[in-house]
Structure formats: C-alpha cells, structure tokens
Symmetry: C2
Subunit: 139 residues, 2 copies
DNA sequence: AATATTTTGCAACAAAGTTGCATTGTTGTA
DNA sequence: TACAACAATGCAACTTTGTTGCAAAATATT
C-alpha cells in the first residue's frame, strides 16, 4: 500500500512526507469519509493542526480527495474514485450519512440521475446526500 | 404577511418576539437560503449574534426552516416548503448553489429521484445539492 | 553532498459557535 | 389591566474551527 501512496503523491507532483503518507493511509484504512477532527484524533496529534488543514487542502486541489456536503457544518473528506481503484473520474457522488453513528459512506452502486435545471443554470457538480440509519445502526 | 408569521409562531408554541418576526420575514423577502452571516448583516446588527443562533436553532427544531448541505462548511438555512405555501411537507430537497455569487436556490420544480440503497440502509432525508453557475452569473 | 525548493510547526490571529446567568419581554390568568 | 410564571434576550466569557506569516526542518534536484 505504501507504494500506491507514493505513486499517488508523485503523480501529483507532491513531496513525499510523513504527514501526507499517514493521512492518505488513514483514508484507505477507514474506507469512509473523515472530518478534519477524525484525522486529528486518528493521527494521535502526530502532526500540527495546521499541517492537517493544509494537507487536506492540497489533496482537494489535486483531486485526490473531495469534500462531502453535510447538513450540519462539518466538512468531510473522502478519497476520489480515481484513487479508490475504479479508475474513472467523475464529479457526481452519492453519500450516506448515518444520523446515529455519524459515519459517512460513499455509495458507489447508485448513479446520480441527471437533473434538468431551469434555464440559465449550469451544473458543475452534483451531490446526492442521503441521511438516515446505516446497516450497523439498525436494530 | 405579519399575520402569517404570527400564525406560524403560534402554531409552533413559540413566543412572538421581535427577533423571530424579523428573521422569519427576512427568509420570506429573500426567497433564497441564508447563512447565519447573511441574517446578521440584513438585520443590521439589530439583534445579538447569540439570539440569531438560538432563533435559527429553534426554527430548525420546529421544522420551520431546514439546513442545506454545502460542500464548503457554510451552513445555510431555508424555509421549509410547508411554510412556503405549497402546503405539503416532505423531506426531499433540491438546491442549487452558485459558485460565483454564492446564492443558494431551492429548486422546487425538480423531484428528487428515489434511490435504492444497499441492504440495511434507511433513508430519512435526501438532499440533492447541485453547484455551478446560476442564471444571473452566466455571461 | 550541496543547494534550491517545499513542507512543517509555531505563534498569533480571526471567525464561528456555545454556555451560564442576570435582565427584559411575553403570555396566561385572575 | 395587573400580576405572576415563563420564555427569550443580551452580555461576557469561552471553546472550537480555520487562517496567515515566517523561521526551521525535511524533501527534492543537481
């Protein structure tokens, strides 16, 4: 996995640093989306808060991760599909946020339907955000 | 309009106060979604920041307004359809956020398609968030 | 290995949101 | 309408979240 991570960083002309390797690895291990706070905790204060902010920002700019809209104000990040292995890039995402445990899932099986917008509106990105109860939290 | 506003507040067992009347009126006048900051500006610092936070929170709890997920971390609020006059309540929303001017539109003409989720996932709310260029910002 | 470039951590700051409590405003009742 | 009960507001202090500039450290380039 370390090789894969190095590849991604090289491909994006980024220096290979401890912080970037660790944070990328965290995304892989978790599988789900993570908020800044999650990363801060999971890296057990190994890196400065500022470094994490800047790393996430860099990753978003390079298209390695993407932000997920949430109704509360917590920004969450997840690996872009490109980097998930599927190998095709697109800007449409379906995400499921569990109201119980807060976990954010990327739902890849579902396609975002094309929406016909009123005249003059041009879509650049479409996010379908579904909240409810996940399969771990249902009784 | 003042009557309508009073009705809504009464119906929800809320005291009729200046702050609530003014903030509800702002939502009507604007037509679009508003962030906390917008409200603070538009009420020209008539009310304490804390009052605005608490009022918005109360309105959300009572189902008078709802939050809109956004990819940046700005929480936005909009009137629920119930209170918009359409008279039917549902938890599915289509919103358009302009990357240029930042305006958030509630797109009512479009229906959120029902999405089939993996086993064990139960949807409570579905938000379709589209970002791009609005009809005022296109050249 | 030495230099150029990039990244990091620190400090200081700005913005956003929260909490407790005394004061004020609103409501229901006599 | 006046009074008591209750709810909402404003203030102050605080926490959390995110940003910026700059020197020190790590990484890349030759």
């Amino acid at each position: 996995m370390q090789d894969k991570i190095n590849d991604i960083l090289k491909k994006n002309h980024l220096s290979i640093t401890e912080a970037r390797k660790k944070i990328l690895a965290l995304f892989w291990e978790s599988g789900n989306a993570m908020a800044h706070g999650d990363i801060e905790q999971k890296s057990s204060e190994e890196f400065d808060r500022v470094t994490i902010y800047r790393t996430l920002q860099t990753f978003v700019e390079k298209g390695i991760i993407h932000t997920i809209p949430t109704a509360d104000n917590s920004v969450r990040y997840a690996l872009c599909k490109d980097e998930c292995g599927a190998g095709h890039h697109h800007d449409d995402h379906v995400h499921f946020i569990c109201d119980d445990c807060g976990t954010t899932y990327c739902i890849d099986e579902v396609n975002v339907p094309k929406v016909k917008l009123p005249k003059g509106f041009k879509a650049a990105q479409t996010d379908l955000v579904i909240s409810g109860t996940c399969n771990k939290c249902e009784q």
